[in-house]
């Protein structure tokens, strides 16, 4: 069996095995098995990374006939765009498993659901067939719906339904786009590699524009970009901490990954034609996300809006890479490399921030920033971790966010000068809002919300919390200081995408 497929289906197999274990054996069996499966999967991913040959091509490819009559195959493989996201997915699921080593509400179904979600997420980043991609895309929505609806808090069911309906509609539009690609290709196929080679929509402007509109809309909803983002804040606010981590760290990346994996290489002409729209959507997301985040009182909702801002940088970069008239290839490669780095970096840093939000909620059942103050005295480790994650998120050098954002800005300025200059204001606003939030909650005189049933003490990070947050921050620092191990993998594949766009 192909190691890639093994990585993808290992969690599912674990889930299937655990399904036969009776729930009365206790939660520990399930959470520990989950942790073991996630750790094993991560080990395999690391092994795969070590064996990966960064030449811009596809490695670990596997192709099985699935529905040959309609040109659908089980076709998987991995390149420099997908591998980092596969790795982040494996890391984040392991972090969630560690974080959840405690009394969970109905552990068995939760663990099974997360294992299935992991297979779905890993599958999406490895899929090289549009229908396979679409299946994973939709299943991720279904899985996350149950996570939010069943384990969320507050207005969870309503938020979950909103999330489901909104992103599901997006996926249907996406499917229309995929079918448009399929029909345009001769012979008809859903295979991403073949479609990229055939470039079926070359010279068919209107057709290409319509297909790009459908695909772009589908991914824009998932990413999400302004104005299709309104499902995100309630979904995050009401989701459990681990759900938010996966939603922000993995599910959002499915949208941005779709841009570089499908929209850009399969529709190069249309992408170039309409890149300026992408750039505008990107810069609006950057500024709008940052400003709305600035006005939030709810810590988790604020982080949700900074996600809109951070994903806006990615969209800006992939748009700028399509503005081919100006800007040489080095700049455009730099921008897209930055975009991929941003996906990784945002996964790690926002993952850490959402886990921290979960820690606060566990202690005092509140995300309201105004009701906390001076936490640094009681919880110095928590304060330190939050400060590091916040500074990483605002793009401080030495952490992964800077590596991503510096490349995005430097690479995009040549082709999209004014939008990039405007987007630069985003890092100032995020700096302001994150420092303000940190100041309000962690510094100053001590004040805690009076939550019925809570003890007077406010505990610092417990070990399971520390061991889930810390690795994410360590990875962010490693990428921030020694990014070559990541960029060496990403750059060759980005160069080929840039080459395809230039056709």
């Amino acid at each position: 069996m192909n190691v890639l497929s093994l990585i993808v289906f290992l969690p599912l197999v674990a889930a299937a095995a655990l399904a036969f274990v009776p729930a009365r054996l206790g939660d520990r069996v399930f959470t520990w098995s989950w942790g073991a499966a996630a750790a094993a999967d991560l080990v395999l991913v690391v092994a795969m990374w070590i064996g990966f040959d960064a030449d811009g091509g596809i490695s670990y490819e596997q192709r099985l006939r699935w529905m040959p009559s309609v040109g659908i195959d089980y076709h998987v493989g991995i390149d420099g765009l997908a591998l980092p996201l596969v790795a982040v997915t494996a890391v984040l699921f392991l972090a969630c498993a560690i974080y959840s080593q405690r009394r969970l509400r109905s552990a068995k179904p939760f663990v099974l659901l997360f294992l299935c979600l992991q297979t779905v997420s890993l599958g999406l980043f490895t899929a090289l067939d549009l229908i396979l991609f679409f299946v994973y895309f939709d299943l991720s929505i279904v899985g996350m719906y149950f996570v939010i609806a069943a384990w969320g808090h507050g207005n969870a069911r309503k938020s979950a339904l909103k999330f489901f309906l909104y992103t599901f509609v997006g996926s249907l539009v996406l499917l229309l786009g995929f079918i448009g690609l399929y029909l345009a290709a001769e012979p008809h196929t859903f295979d991403i590699v073949e479609l990229a080679r055939a470039n079926p929509l070359a010279g068919r402007e209107t057709y290409g524009a319509v297909v790009l509109l459908a695909i772009g809309l589908g991914f824009a909803i998932k990413t999400p970009t302004v104005p299709f983002h309104t499902w995100l804040p309630p979904a995050h606010t009401d989701a459990p901490a681990t759900g938010s981590v996966i939603l922000a760290g993995v599910l959002l990346k499915m949208g941005t990954y779709g841009f570089v994996r499908i929209a850009m290489p399969l529709l190069p002409q249309s992408w170039r034609e309409y890149a300026w729209i992408v750039v505008i959507v990107g810069v609006v997301s950057v500024l709008y996300g940052a400003l709305v985040a600035l006005a939030q009182e709810d810590f988790k909702r604020m982080i949700a809006y900074t996600s809109v801002n951070h994903m806006g940088y990615v969209v800006l970069a992939v748009g700028a890479a399509g503005l081919i008239a100006e800007g040489d290839e080095q700049a455009r490669s730099l921008a897209v490399t930055g975009a991929v780095t941003q996906m990784v970096s945002h996964g790690l840093l926002t993952g850490a921030l959402f886990l921290i939000a979960g820690v606060l909620f566990d202690r005092r059942a509140s995300y309201d920033m105004g009701s906390y103050s001076g936490l640094a005295g009681r919880a110095p480790v928590l304060a330190g971790a939050t400060a590091l994650a916040a500074f990483g998120s605002l793009g401080l050098p030495g952490l992964s966010g800077f590596v991503a954002e510096f490349q995005i800005f430097t690479g995009s300025l040549a082709s999209a000068s004014v939008p990039t200059a405007l987007a630069l204001l985003g890092i100032l606003i995020t700096a302001g809002l994150l420092l303000r939030a940190f100041h309000r909650m962690f510094l100053g005189a001590e004040r805690l919300p009076d939550t019925p049933g809570s003890t007077r003490r406010f505990e610092d990070l417990r070990s399971r919390e520390l061991f889930s947050v810390l690795p994410l921050l360590v990875l962010a620092v490693v990428i921030g200081l020694l990014p070559r191990f990541l960029l060496d993998v990403v750059e060759p594949s980005v160069t080929s995408v840039i080459g395809v766009i230039g056709r």
Partner: protein, 622 residues
Amino acid sequence: MSPLLWSLIAVPLGSGGLLACSGSRGDRHATAVGTAVMAVTLIIGVSVVVARPEASFPFFAGMGLSLVVDGLSAILIVTVVAITSVVLLYAVSELGARESRARFTGLMLLFAGAMLTTVTASNLPTLLMGWEVMGAASWALIGFWWRDSERSVSANIAFLTTRAADLGLYLAAGAALAGGSGSLALGTLPDISQGWLELVTAGIVVAALGKSAQLPFHFWLSRAMSGPSAVSALLHSATMVAAGGYLLLRSEALLAASGWGEPVVAWTGVFTAFVLGLVAVAQRDLKQLLAASTSAQLGFVVLAAGVGSLTGGTVQLVAHAATKSALFLVAGAWLIALGTKELRELRGAARRYRGLGVAFTLAAASLAGIPPLSLWVAKDEVLAAALAQAPALYAVGTVAALLSTVYTVKAALLVWRPVPERAEVTLDRERLGTRRVAPLAESASWVLASGAALLGVLGIPSLAHSLDVFLGPEADPSPALWQLVVSTVATLLVAGLVRWWAEWRIPTPLLGYRGWQEWLCVEGAVRILLVRPVLVAARTLAAFDDRVLDRLVSAVPVAALWLARLVGRRVESWLDGSIGALTGGVGLLGSLARRPQTGQLHQYYVQAAVALALLAVLVVLG
């Protein structure tokens, strides 16, 4: 690869990072570790100054992390390491036993390490990394006493103001790449294509002005006073503000290539020196006076960069670093001992603690521009170059230099006044004074004050010439004899005038207005004109997001439900009714169609006959 050069930044940054994270466990050993690290860094620093290595490490595609040591870097390395070491020793006496020494020492090491990165960086990404980490470290140090919310506000203001200016460096990096500098090396920047060159210059100038607290960014420096005095002593001398001046000195060729860069920078510098000099005169708080003076003194470095005086600017930078750090250490020691930094209440402070008083006076004399001390030498060098460019620059610069005499002599006179009776009542305004000065604090001030005085040797022509050679290709114009005479006479005259003024208690015209004390109220203006509109925009957009965009989206399923109900109630029944009507109609037709089917032959014959007849008529007519 040069391990030596890497260790210069890795040792303070690495150990600083570890120390800052070590928590209360590290407190006990923090001072020892900090001292040891600075000693090692000093050895490394001296070695790299001698060896002048280069180092590069792959980072981004085509642009690595690159360090290089040239004359300017060498001088700054020594300055940074020396002053940081002394200040760290001083800090032992400032921080209480129960304070987080590990966090403090770690952050100071990070701060210094980031500055070392900045002054050795040979391309924009490396420079930006050091630059921004330094800003973040300053945030953590200014807000070191985090339980006091106001100090954290100050830290935020300082960080956000400098970061707003830092955006210029991001802009410059992008523009440099677009303009054809694939490596973003600082040396390649003057050669990039026109158009982009303007943007690069503008970006670098804005970032540097922000960092060195020049107009209109100067107000963050007033806020930076919220940290411990040791932080002020470092932030105002060898790091942070020095970085801006350094970058401009480093970018001389770029400023020249842009055409407009030099005059803009020169005038901003001299204008800041003048205006902030006035602000300093108006201050009533010793630390605020010193802070305003920092902006003004850095103005001369900026002026030097604008008139192409590399040597003058460098001497000014270094001399000011030694002078100002000494003054801050003394001010800090008095604050600890007497519990106040209000000038009025510090009357007689020098008489109470004579050792500190003499150190303060020595450094103040340098700051006042009294010959032959270091800042007198530096300013004459800078002003000579300014005169070669434009007499107006020289004139304003000279007035600004005399302003520094005014505020320094004013402060020095005050602290030597006799101790007032009933002084104890007004002391301890800010904290409970200890009424003692730690020997370490006194020695630290002495070391720095002597440095401030002794650097005056750089005025000796042969030494000045060797410095010119050390620093680089072009020699600066040396001040003419008449200039030295003018500056000496004017300085002494002004000093005497201030003394006379103080004795007769003549009120300072104009400077009594609150605006001067409040640093021209720029912070308030920024709050009203920039921060408030942004916050209003944020709230408006958030409301729009919730009340319009989200409702619009939520309206879609609501509309769908409404439509479904409508269909269920109206269309469905109508459809049901119409189907019923249809079937009824068909049934009626059926029964009508059945009527002729009587089964009786004669009736069929009649029907056939009628049909045939009709057919015949049609045929005939057709």
